[in-house]
Amino acid sequence: MQMTDHFNDIITLAHGGGGLLSQQLVDEIFVPAFSNVYLAPLGDSAMVRAGRETLAFTTDSFTVDPLFFPGGDIGRLAVCGTVNDLAVSGADPKFLSAGMIIEEGLPVSTLGRIVRSMKTAADQAGVSIVTGDTKVVEKGKGDGIFINTSGVGIVRGGLVYSTSNIAPGDRIIVNGPLGNHGMAVMTAREGFGFSSTIDSDVAPLNGLIRAMQKTGADIHMMRDATRGGAATVLNEIASAAGVTIEVDEPAVPVSEPVRGACELLGFDPLYVANEGVIVVFAAPGHAGSLVEEMRRHPFGTQSAVIGTVKDRSGGMVVLRTTIGSSRILDMLTGEMLPRIC
């Protein structure tokens, strides 16, 4: 039996990393099985009709170790993650469900802290958690707690963000520094042996997005950059839109502590998970004023243009490096593991 055959027989952690292997699961298992017109676009949310309204509907499951990390916790993650998936689809997030799978032995007080954090995040986002479910599994069969949130939002006024809107010349904008969430969680884990001052950036971004929409700027597409980082989102979008994207490495905002932590572990901030970062494609004439408006919002103070859509030559992302050379910014394969080489 060849090694390469066996690799495809079992699910490994690499399949959950958000890169190529995760994509393979979607393409080879989920889409063929579920196959329908709402799923096909594979957007952050599905757009469904309810009478004359268009609703955005999305779901996300959360597992994180440790449950509480600098800047947030699994509860806050669960609410913000789903709120953001709805908001980047152009919808106004309204209602969430919360499904909990709890491992036997989790202290009730811990559950209380998580739930209160969810309420705080929901209030901040202006959404209500209207239904839920709880299951308990045997000790050893769950990482403390898994949370699934599904959400519904209302799409107003014909706003359609789609990769098909993207055109050469579009500017690519991010609302803040990259890599905070992933490195905050790494730091909080036992065994990687280092401490830092990094806080997760987990935040509900629907308020920021609403402010951006109010400017009337010509926004073509947006997506939140979660696991796999900004590089993954850019690759997904480049591929879906069939365009070549150029990223200007010096323009990408990364905080000093995150840079230091990434150097230590051998990570590239472009691939590190975020929970409060959106990647936005906007028409060139509007990018400047859009960034200015974003900088006025607490979750956009370090907004910056980081790249441009070059042409329709193919779905690739090219990085212009700090020394002025160019190289491909490829999809992540497998989990990013700390390395010594």
Partner: protein, 72 residues
């Protein structure tokens, strides 16, 4: 191989030290660099300081590069 990062030695306790870069801190072994002093910049690899960064040489190399820019 090998990923080694220049970090500043902030504290020494016996044969262990605390090094820092951009706010990230790590505890490392100093057994391979017994003459390391607080404030030194050291090369950190796999949890140990493996060599001291010669700051004078570092400055000279940086100056060399700046000189190149000026001539360009």
């Amino acid at each position: 191989m090998c990923l080694a990062v220049p970090m500043q030695l902030e504290e020494i306790t016996g044969d262990r030290g605390i090094v820092t870069i951009g706010g990230a801190k790590r505890e490392i072994g100093l057994n391979l660099l017994p003459d390391a002093r607080k404030g030194d910049f050291v090369l950190v690899h796999a949890g140990f300081a493996i060599q001291k960064i010669d700051e004078k040489e570092a400055r000279e190399t940086i100056e060399l590069f700046r000189e190149m820019e000026r001539l360009a």
